[in-house]
Symmetry: C2
Subunit: 192 residues, 2 copies
């Protein structure tokens, strides 16, 4: 259970993460989050560094969600990020996911498992790609960049992720999410 960031700081968070992230273990981070405050969890005994690197930072930021998480992702197959999102859903955070129809069914996609967990997912029916890669935490923080949430991208690609709490960045992304969420409402799906 990551310690809550102090809300008393005067400046909005602004951060840039770069990938590839050197190999690092996120088991303890996810176990601690799953156990909840005061819960029992064991530190992971594996020899990898723990809680370091861009993936751990991305997970920690997502795990600060208390109320809502909007996710708008072209490709989502990272098991660790999938685990974090299911955990937030179980904790009562309202999770909504928008994704690309052509990628969500590929082997290794997390979308099926997230749907099975009861998380709402909507997808496009367009010929173009739903190519966004952003998430919005509690309507206050946008996380966006070149990174799809896949192990390939995290471990092998040159990628960037921006983290911003400035309202002038968060609001346009929230508006874009709501616009797409409504457009991709299943009542609008066409069946051929």
């Amino acid at each position: 259970w990551p310690r809550r960031r102090s809300r008393s700081r005067s400046r909005p968070l602004r951060e840039v993460l770069f990938f590839p992230s050197p190999p690092s273990c996120t088991e303890a981070l996810l176990a601690e989050a799953a156990a909840g405050p005061g819960g029992a969890w064991r530190p992971c005994p594996c020899p990898l560094p723990h809680g370091h690197g861009s993936l751990s930072r991305l997970l920690s930021l997502l795990l600060t969600a208390r109320r809502s998480l909007e996710i708008c992702l072209f490709a989502f197959s990272s098991p660790q990020l999938g685990c974090a999102v299911r955990l937030l859903h179980r904790r009562g955070v309202r999770v909504r996911i928008v994704t690309d129809a052509q990628y969500m069914g590929l082997q290794g996609s997390q979308i099926g498992s997230l749907r099975l967990a009861g998380i709402q997912v909507r997808h496009d029916q367009e010929s173009g790609f739903m190519h966004h890669k952003f998430a919005i935490v509690d309507g206050r923080m946008v996380i966006t960049g070149s990174l799809n949430w896949t192990t390939q991208a995290i471990q092998n690609n040159r990628e960037n992720v921006l983290v911003m709490e400035d309202a002038e960045f968060v609001k346009p992304f929230l508006d874009e999410f709501e616009r797409i969420w409504e457009e991709y409402n299943p009542i609008n799906y066409r069946f051929f």
Copy 2:
């Protein structure tokens, strides 16, 4: 020749552009930039809207470059953006491009034509993708997002592009560019 933005504004530019961009003609914008200040150019007579939309805005921002332009792009095939970059190079702006080896040779890629124009291009020799999609104008403005510079992405995909002048965003991207530029120095290429 786009009018120079007033440098007297107190706040750094912060903007989000979304795609797809509705069809719009950029001929006049590029012709005006090519003619230079006081140069003769004719407005484009085609019936499309001119100078509107996210692509025109992206072109205008790039065309403000006076000294340097760093480009770090997975895929670059848009003729309009290629034209703008060649124009800046002819105008004496120092242009440097980093791109992905697997994509630069594909049909429609602008990379060959940019190299022929005398622009320096470096590429990876890695199995992972060089998946960044950012540009830095005069070391003061970073333009980054999900958008590859391809007509497919501009016209058909859901994409975002952030424009930021905050030093805390610009500097990490500039450092990342210089790091990659050195790593991809041809003296480090391996030939098998």
